[in-house]
Amino acid sequence: MAKILGIDLGTTNSAMAIVEGGEPRVLENSEGVRTTPSIVAINKSGERLGGLLAKRQGVVNPKNTIYSMKRLIGRKFTDEEVKRDKEWLTYDIRQSEKGGTEIHMGDKWYTPEEISAMVLQKLKADAEAKLGEKIDEAVITVPAYFDDSERQATKNAGEIAGFKVRRILNEPTAAALAYGLNKQKNEKIVVYDFGGGTFDISILEVGDDTVEVKATGGDTHLGGDDFDKRIIEYLVQEYKKQEGIDLSKDTLALQRLKEAAERAKHELSTVTETEINLPYVTSDASGPKHFLMKLTRAKLENLVQDLIDRSIALVKEAVTAPTPKGAGLALSDINEVILVGGQIRMPAIEEAVKNLFGKEPHKGINPDEVVAIGAAVQAGILQGDVKDILLLDVTPLTLSIETLGNVATPMIQKNTTIPTSKTQVFSTAADNQTSVEVHIGQGERPMMQDNKTLARFILDGIPPSPRGVPQVEVTFDIDANGILTVSAKDKASGKEQSVRIEASTSLSKEEVERLKKEAAEHATEDEKKKELIEMRNQAEALVYTAEKSLRDLGDKVTEDMKKDITEKITRLNEVKQGDDKEAIKSASTDLSTALQKIGESLYNKNNGPESSPQPESGNNQ
């Protein structure tokens, strides 16, 4: 079935995602980046460029590099906003015949829809290349404050780009969808979206399957870029004070400073102090000059505090101002807060929002991608009306079989998608053992007695043979309904036994949680216990080998040696029942060294007296 692309068509950057196997996935563009600059250009040879490539030539081709189309789309040329934007936009715009805006690029005039369509076309082509299939449908997001004309124009842009636009979705609604908050009942949600160039506030009310926008607010000219500018200004000023050199006049130095400022900003989201180190940043008559400065999180917060305060004031206004200016609500009426946009990674912002509402905001999803993910979720819902999604269950807990020493050996790990089956071959623990007990348990603890027993059965009729020789094949099979069938088969005799357990996945949610919690609580102590059991098992195997060697080779070894080994076997048998790991270890080592001597003495006997004697240990080098 054809996929529907979810698109966050941003002012500065755009992102896209799809739903695959029920999970949203952000798609990279052809340059391998997860966000694409919302920029198009026509270069000097008349070639059209989009995204990153258009951005890379923007400085030298400002008249024909078109950006911020979202500020113009669907607006009248006489709009106050458009008039204001005209002042700083580097390309030419004029009034269209219908009163809208037209943009000059290359030697033609374009509508904002056509320009946005070019951005969308790039995304479409990149998505198709990435997925290897045609994409004809899309869900495109717009700010909640977009009016009908702006929405219609965005939809037209999508259609021009070759999409059937299945839905124009509000950005804050997309964010709420990404966090799965659309399923809440009668909740009021604030979406605080601090992007690169714009700051948007939306207050949503979620009812029965509907999301209503109660109010919007924000500042279309406040964003993360302003934070970067503040840092750069500060660094330039400080350097001027220290060295008397103005770095803002030096293109290369400024470029490096800009990158370093951005890096420092990111770093200060996780550490409290960072060093900006730019060797050879410039030079004067005395020689090369370097830039070395510490920037603390406190200083950064100090530099941008007024911007954060301004955003908080705007939130308060949007929530509390009476309708239609605001939502007419008290701050305490808000049930959930979602943070969106790259700038929200700054801890001071999160803190300010948290303090304002007195609750922890949602911020787990990458804030640069959350809107595109929400758009993909909406696309997934639309895709979903064709019923081809088969819901597959998973096993909530690990299913194990008991092996020597009460150890729970996992056969099917928790969270394995069912139906599934797993086969493993086991053997006997004692000589001439003619039956084995298959003990099936469920849970995360390494020892069987701590898990829940599901069933036990006995497989008998195993032909008598030494331990470790019989091969018992055990199969765990869970069908799509969660019914577990365990069968055990002796490969030599072909004898088989099985048991069917209906309730292997029907534990209550609480029971599953309890078992998982217990496993986590006892992890260390269980691990130690398991180590001890494993050591005991090894000791037992060693005793078995030693006894067998004595039996088989008794006539070929000296009495002294026999006595020594028998003593050591007794000693190991004594300590292996205890809990002293060190004692078991040393007794095991002693016995195994004594056993090696049998090998050595046999070797010497077989080779006769003329063979050269072997050194005791590794001193023959």
């Binding site: 340059e31 030298v60 081709n61 293109t251 730019l278 060797p279």
Partner: protein, 163 residues
């Protein structure tokens, strides 16, 4: 009467058969899809693994580029007759050789080359000899990882005369 019952029974059986056939087709289709999904997933997984292996060093190399920039600036600030310059150049070359082993290469751009935004980023224009719009000078080296631009070369372009 009996015939009617038989008719009813047969109609019922037919309906059940049709339903069973419909279900069979649906399940068979679902099963085929699941098999196909798995097989596709396996193929994708192989590709993903290859991609990860290739790109696992990317973040580290990305950070190293900044240091290489400083190194280049340091070298160009040294006097030609400075005896350490040759040594430092060799150290720089060692670094380049090592990074090359991991797939990182310097993007080669010459003065007078046409500007190509796939590998270069224009940061300004200057007056110089040569065709307008072509490369006037390389400001910062660009790097490609496994043939894909990691950071474009920052360049100055030759100013178009009439501007």
């Amino acid at each position: 009467m009996e015939e009617e019952i038989k008719k009813e029974e047969s109609a019922d059986l037919e309906a059940r058969l049709l339903e069973a056939e419909r279900l069979r087709d649906e399940y068979l289709d679902g099963w085929k899809r699941a098999k196909a999904d798995l097989s596709n997933y396996k193929k994708e997984e192989v590709e993903r693994m290859e991609y990860f292996v290739k790109r696992s060093n990317e973040a580290l190399l990305h950070d190293l580029i900044v240091i290489l920039d400083s190194f280049e600036l340091g070298l160009s600030a040294m006097r030609e007759d400075d005896s350490s310059k040759k040594g430092m150049t060799l150290v720089r070359n060692q670094l380049y050789d090592t990074m090359k082993k991991y797939g990182l290469e310097v993007i080669q751009i010459q003065k007078g080359d046409p500007f190509n935004p796939e590998i270069a980023e224009a940061i300004g224009e200057i007056e110089a000899e040569g065709p307008p719009g072509s490369i006037a000078e390389e400001v910062t080296k660009g790097y490609a990882l496994h043939g894909k631009t990691m950071r474009p070369t920052r360049v100055m372009l030759i100013k178009t005369k009439n501007e």
